[in-house]
């Protein structure tokens, strides 16, 4: 391949493409459900112990396969709310009333059930803590390298269940005591629809570098300063880190939510290469 085409091949990523060799290999695993809990009125949290799971980075997902007694199978993708080494994996599933898989996972699955999962998957919609050792080493040497390694601020934007991989990132950020400024904009229908409500409030309360902005689209809590309504371009402009700070932006939610938000981000001056998206489906 010519040099020119090599340059364009990597230009979609603002950093070099993550070395796949460094990523845990994806494979099929048997997961045992070790805990379930209601997450919201419509959603459940499932904690799995996955036999042979190689660990996963924040933002990755897995494929989950169900098999009926007659051999019929169905597979869906689910983001992972947890990260790090170990075999525990947390999922959070929103029930689509007419859905085939999500009502089963939310209403039927119980502790002790076994599920087939394939993963961990995805190497692009991923966030990793800054390697402070590397920054220091580069700082001792060439100043240019140090500034190249200094992490850019991160803006997370979630719609509904799109919070799942972004929650994994926010948690990984806190656990690593990473000082990269993190800001999260989370859009949900009502206060009862917040996933990881307690954990997110605790993260925001405990940290000077993590900030949480909530948007309620149908009903707000009492005394909330803003009216209920969808995220607008103006609301986005007001709540997200400005393009001048060159944040890396992760956007996750239904396809329609992601399309709207990502196109507004471009209009607000963010570079397309700095915006990473995960589209869950739907409209």
């Amino acid at each position: 391949m010519s040099d020119a085409s090599t340059a364009t091949a990597t230009s979609a990523t603002s950093e070099p493409a993550p070395a796949l060799a460094a990523m845990p290999r994806a494979g099929w695993h048997v997961a045992t459900v070790v805990a379930t809990r209601q997450e919201t009125a419509k959603a459940a949290r499932l904690e799995l112990d996955v036999d042979g799971w190689p660990g996963n980075a924040a933002g990755q997902h897995l494929d989950l396969r169900l098999t009926a007694p007659d051999g019929y199978t169905v597979t869906r993708s689910y983001s992972i709310a947890s990260s790090g080494p170990g075999t525990r994996v947390v999922l959070a599933v929103d029930k689509l009333p007419d859905g085939e898989v999500s009502p089963f996972l939310v209403d039927e699955v119980r502790v002790g059930d076994r599920l087939e999962v394939h993963g961990p998957l995805g190497a692009f919609f991923v966030w990793r803590p800054v390697d402070r050792g590397a920054v220091r080493a580069a700082g001792d040497g060439a100043g240019g390298a140090a500034s190249a390694l200094r992490a850019r601020p991160v803006q997370l934007i979630a719609g509904g269940s799109g919070i799942v991989p972004l929650f994994a990132m926010a948690t990984a950020h806190a656990e690593a005591r990473d000082l990269t400024p993190f800001r999260m904009l989370y859009s949900v229908r009502t206060p009862d629809d917040l996933f990881f409500a307690e954990e997110l409030m605790a993260l925001a309360a405990a940290s000077d570098v993590f900030r949480l902005d909530l948007v309620y689209t149908r009903r707000t809590p009492d005394g909330w300063p803003n009216l209920a309504g969808r995220v607008t371009r103006a609301a986005l402009a007001a709540a997200v880190l400005p393009a001048t700070e060159r944040p890396i932006v992760y956007v996750c939610g239904s396809t329609g939510f992601v399309e709207r938000v990502a196109s507004w981000l471009i209009e607000l001056g963010h570079d397309a290469r700095d915006i990473r998206t995960e589209r869950f489906g739907g409209i």
Binding site: M1, T8, A9, A12, L20, D70, H118, T255
Partner: protein, 197 residues
């Protein structure tokens, strides 16, 4: 490995023979993109094929639309487990575009506006297997789905059908493109479930 999931009976029992393993029939049009949807004006659009000798064949929108156009009715399979059956497209066959292209190389890197890439074997693009499509269901192709023009290689998972395509670069050896560097399979045959590697 596969075992019955306790309590699961499934809904879609009349399984369609046209669905590859692990796929579900979609009624909407699934979208897989790693970033925002680029907006490309056909006035600035250009498509090119570059070979090992430095030769470049290129077409602007007007020249491209003057080429023979084919109607394609086909099933499409997205790696996110969704398939759409009987979709209809209009586009230019890669056989037409490669007519005057001389190359010894057997692999191709498809490049898109926005910087994305995906690798393909030339064999997967010729002999009536691939098109540059600009119309879906009788309408100009939406930017969200790769408009103004995308590669259409329906016998492979749909990420190989590079959206917003702007050119093909011949390669001597198979090398992973953007999606493949991020975990997707080098080849991507849905009937063999070549999703990830």
């Amino acid at each position: 490995m596969s075992f019955i999931t306790r309590g699961f009976s499934g809904r879609g029992h009349e399984r369609d023979e046209r669905l590859p393993p692990g796929q579900t029939l979609a009624h909407d049009f699934p979208v897989l993109s790693a970033g925002p949807t680029p907006e490309i004006d056909t006035a600035e659009w250009e498509f090119s094929i570059a070979t090992e000798t430095g030769g470049v064949h290129s077409w602007n929108w007007e020249q491209f639309m003057a080429l023979p156009i084919e109607e394609v009715d086909t099933d499409i399979h997205c790696v996110t487990h969704w398939s759409k059956l009987g979709t209809s497209w209009r586009g230019v066959s890669l056989d037409t575009l490669f007519e005057d292209v001389e190359t010894q190389y057997e692999y191709v890197m498809a490049h898109s506006y926005g910087g994305y890439t995906t690798n393909l074997a030339l064999d997967d693009l010729l002999d009536g297997k691939a098109w540059i499509a600009f119309e879906f269901d009788g309408e100009p192709l939406d930017p969200e789905h790769g408009g103004p023009a995308r590669l259409l290689v329906p016998h492979l998972y749909f990420w190989k059908s590079a959206k917003w395509v702007r050119g093909l670069v011949m390669m001597g050896e198979d090398e992973p493109g953007f999606w493949e560097q991020n975990g997707y399979h080098l080849h991507g045959d849905p009937w063999k479930e070549e999703r990830y590697w």
